[in-house]
Subunit: 256 residues, 2 copies
Amino acid sequence: MIRKIVLIGAGNVATHLGQALSGNGREIIQVYSRSAESAASLAQILNCPRTTSLADIRADADLYLFAVNDDALAEVLRQFPHKQALVAHTSGSIPMEVFEAGFQNFAVFYPLQTFSKQSKPDYANIPLCLEANTPANYTLIEKLAQRVSNRVVSANSQQRRQLHLAAVFACNFTNHLYTIAADILEQHQLPFDILRPLISETAAKVQNNLPARVQTGPALRNNQQIIKAHLKALEALPDYQKIYTFITQSIIHSSK
Amino acid sequence: MIRKIVLIGAGNVATHLGQALSGNGREIIQVYSRSAESAASLAQILNCPRTTSLADIRADADLYLFAVNDDALAEVLRQFPHKQALVAHTSGSIPMEVFEAGFQNFAVFYPLQTFSKQSKPDYANIPLCLEANTPANYTLIEKLAQRVSNRVVSANSQQRRQLHLAAVFACNFTNHLYTIAADILEQHQLPFDILRPLISETAAKVQNNLPARVQTGPALRNNQQIIKAHLKALEALPDYQKIYTFITQSIIHSSK
């Protein structure tokens, strides 16, 4: 049973995960960040000790959970002192084999959600995508995951990579389309607030339907008159014009 | 005061608008559609007479509301018999001047929302964007709009065109990104359901924040390693690869 957890990292993922995992007999016993400020801030939220030195990480945790930047992970793992312990990373895009050089007990604990300082999502509803190097290690992290989420999913590294790619479209890219819409409105003295109900409804519609079934708009109808007028309106915004062109093409191809 | 309304059109917009506008002393007194089936279906929902002949449209309505396809509007207007009456269209992309050939009292009544048979949005929360050819006509449709929505907005034809363009990004294009995500998951035997909480949260985050403030993901961090791996994973899907490329570029440019 996993009771004592050390969090390696103090960014958005570490913060939300740390809050979700602590309590009910489980404890974050230490937080590590190379930034003293981040370490102190998260340690205060979780009411636990912190360190900025990998060498000072406690040896008695049941799980070391790595929520650091993808770019930093390999180097942090290299310097991490407790090679026999159970370790897990939280990244969508890094294969589990990153642990193979040096570790015996390892897993992946990937929350499929977007975390930011501004909002606190409901963890019970967040899919946790798990993978482990042995059935015993899988059971350990599965039990931990089931304590915080109702949507625990097994996904191997290849599936997780695809999940992450799909999430980039459905979340990161979608948010950028919101930004483009906000930018167009701002340039014409219209408030972003006017679009918020539409954004909510667009996301709500696919909660009970597949998105291809509820597609609407000029591209779906292949209404070239509107499409041409929109492309003309975007003439001074070449990045947006390219995005308009290729999403429109893709909608037209998909609907055939 | 507008009490009696004839609906010209029987698609999704006409259906939702008809339901929202009838009741509390206001009545849909007739529905027109060139399709007998659509006319009958909506007339049944609204419990009112219907016709498939423009010549048979009643003369005694206070408002004739046109919710037909953009492509069909000009021809329907040409054949419409009651040129003195107050008429309004519901299109985001057609300028009000479409009425100038032949009509004296005209307006635009544009609901900024996505309508489909599968879902019933809450009308009170839907922005209604209004424009009229005289202050008196504006007041008439404004009073009608305020009976159904708490978000009544004045927008001239130029602003409405920009609103519609912004809505294409925030709704139609966003839904296509969901479709791409669903397609990627399906190709790897993963259910779309796993993405639904992420989609909800992505839309929820911008209800209280501007989207540029809550952008996340590999493009924002300009993580070329992940971006290259994603582009490689999309090699067999050129439409998706182009969309990935140009949204990523735009995010990188925006964050500079």
